[in-house]
């Protein structure tokens, strides 16, 4: 009896079994975690090959098929997100080996791996799901595992932030669930295909609004961002990288998906979404300029970047729909890679210098040069300088906006870019100034193995920009962005 295993099942079940094994055998957790990560990455590559060769793949679980059963579906967009998740996840895991090696961190080591693998199960599940109730369950898996990771360090600030995060997560998920209820009331089915071409009745508009607000709470869209900076800034470095690089993206992906299938909201509502995004860009920028600690600055820049992605959503008005969805997808990918690199680098800098107060970065005789270089590379992608992936995303956004005459969104993008230059410069200044060092300079910390993972991520954030064309054509496999042109 041979078992037919599909790559999609593996992408979800391998991390799940890994989590179980890592929880059962705490001493071998790190090894199990790395093996599970590597195997999951293999499954994703296998899936990517399948999708590349034969287009979107569908797996009707239980053989029932939607709408009665639940289908898994992988198309270009989902595979790209899966690839982002496993690539970033693998590298963050490698650097977690180093970040959690301290003698007093045995508990963190023991719990990091099961929680992270459960998180991976949830994230991969989101990217393959085609059923809105299943999405609800998946975001709850993600929420619980993510809160567990947030409070890993066990400090009071982290637990406080974790509790706020938990409240926001539960409320967001419940709003989403209420939206699911309204979809069921109106349509009597829950699969994506059933949502397509539905008449926008009152119940469906309520459902869209509820789901959007719920997801906005989970992605921390301004003004619902209150929980994010504390949660991301107080977590340990690998957890911050996972939270900021991957967890937020899952909810963003759901917004992106639902926007394809749910009835089209009115232009005014879209403008409102864009305004919220613009508010996030401005407010996140201002707070990043005012932040006193490096990790807090990075966390606020996440708020700003997410706002930018929502601006891309909003610009997908009646005109240039496909283009701006692609821009949003590119920005999601770029932000995932670069922000993970940046949080890891910030963690490294904090570890080496002993603090992460931005004002005192230039007073330190210790200069973790490689981590600083990594930070700068990631910043280049986040600012959107060519040839990084962030540049391509912003370019696509502005090009589309100009083509369809939405000049105000171009202005917002520009302002956001300038602000990100400004707040990242605060950090660079600290890196590059030596005149305020009292002690003899010379304790430059050179290479460390721990820098390899973030550096790879940062180079990827830059280098992927050169491969934008293949990425874009891969994203289109299976027409995730609406009908075939």
């Amino acid at each position: 009896m041979s078992v037919d295993i599909s790559a999609m099942m593996l992408a979800i079940f391998l991390p799940l079994f890994g989590a179980i094994a890592a929880f059962l055998l705490p001493r071998a957790a790190a090894l199990i975690g790395l093996v599970a990560l590597a195997l999951t990455t293999g499954a994703v590559i296998w899936l990517a090959r399948e999708v590349w060769q034969s287009g979107a793949v569908i797996l009707p679980l239980g053989g029932w098929g939607a709408p009665l059963g639940i289908d898994l579906r992988a198309d270009g967009l989902s595979v790209a997100m899966l690839a982002l998740t496993s690539a970033v996840g693998l590298l963050v895991s490698v650097s977690a080996l180093d970040a959690l090696k301290g003698a007093g961190q045995s508990r963190q080591r023991q719990y990091f791996w099961p929680l992270w693998l459960l998180l991976l199960t949830g994230i991969n599940g989101v990217y393959l799901s085609t059923d809105i109730f299943n999405l609800y369950v998946m975001i709850e898996v993600i929420a619980l595992a993510a809160v567990g990771l947030t409070v890993l360090s066990g400090t009071r600030a982290a637990v406080q932030a974790g509790l706020e995060y938990m409240y926001a997560s539960i409320l967001g998920a419940l709003l989403f669930l209420m939206g699911v209820g309204f979809v069921y009331l109106q349509l009597g089915r829950l699969d994506f295909a059933g949502l397509m071409d539905a008449e926008p009745t009152g119940a469906l508009i309520a459902a869209v609004a509820l789901m959007f607000v719920g997801l906005a709470l989970k992605t921390a869209l301004f003004p619902l961002h209150f929980w994010l900076p504390a949660a991301h800034a107080n977590a340990t470095a690998p957890a911050s990288a996972l939270l900021s690089g991957l967890v937020v993206k899952a909810a963003l992906y759901i917004v992106l998906r639902l926007a394809q299938y749910m009835p089209f909201p009115s232009e005014a509502l879209l403008t409102l979404v864009g305004m919220m995004g613009a508010g996030a860009v401005i407010w996140g920028g201002i707070q990043a300029l005012r932040a006193e600690r490096l990790k807090l600055l990075v966390a606020w820049s996440t708020v700003a970047q997410i706002g930018l992605i929502f601006v891309a959503f909003a610009r997908a008005g009646e005109l240039g729909l496909t283009e701006s969805w692609k821009a949003a997808a590119l920005l999601i990918l770029a932000h995932g890679v670069a922000k993970a690199a940046m949080f890891l680098a910030a963690g490294r800098i904090k570890d080496e210098i002993g603090h992460d107060v931005i004002r005192d970065l230039d007073r330190s005789p210790i200069r973790p040069t490689l981590a600083q270089f990594t930070f700068a590379l990631a910043a280049i992608s986040l600012i959107g300088l060519p040839p990084s992936l962030g540049f391509i995303g912003k370019w696509a956004l502005m090009e589309g906006a100009m083509a369809s005459g939405y000049w105000h969104w171009v202005v917002v993008t520009m302002v956001g870019t300038l602000m990100s230059v400004a707040y990242f410069s605060r950090v660079f200044a600290g890196f590059l100034r030596f005149d305020r060092v009292r002690a003899p300079v010379g304790e430059h910390q050179g290479w460390a193995l721990a820098d390899a993972a973030p550096l790879t991520l940062a180079f990827a954030a830059i280098g992927l920009g050169l491969m934008a064309a293949p990425i874009l054509s891969f994203l289109e496999i299976g027409y995730p962005f609406g009908v075939a042109p």
Partner: protein
Amino acid sequence: MTPDLIYGLTGIAVFGIGLVGALCVQERLRRVLALKLCSVGAGFVLVVGAWREPPEMPDPVPHALVITGIVVMVSATAVALALIRRLQTLEATDER
């Protein structure tokens, strides 16, 4: 006045009450309870959607969904409460 109408509006009212609580209440324990109220409200809407006039059997799928929702909610509640207890202990030791 049919049961689905009455209980549907009840569910929405409970959801709204929970929402007010989740946004306005300061006490940590009470906020958890407010969120639980929201989830009961959402459960009402799904169960009402499943209801059919008596000779007909109700639709079982939303029932299964609500059961799932209840179990998910108790898990989330447990984590939130554990955080509250931990935070309380930390605050007590910090003040000591």
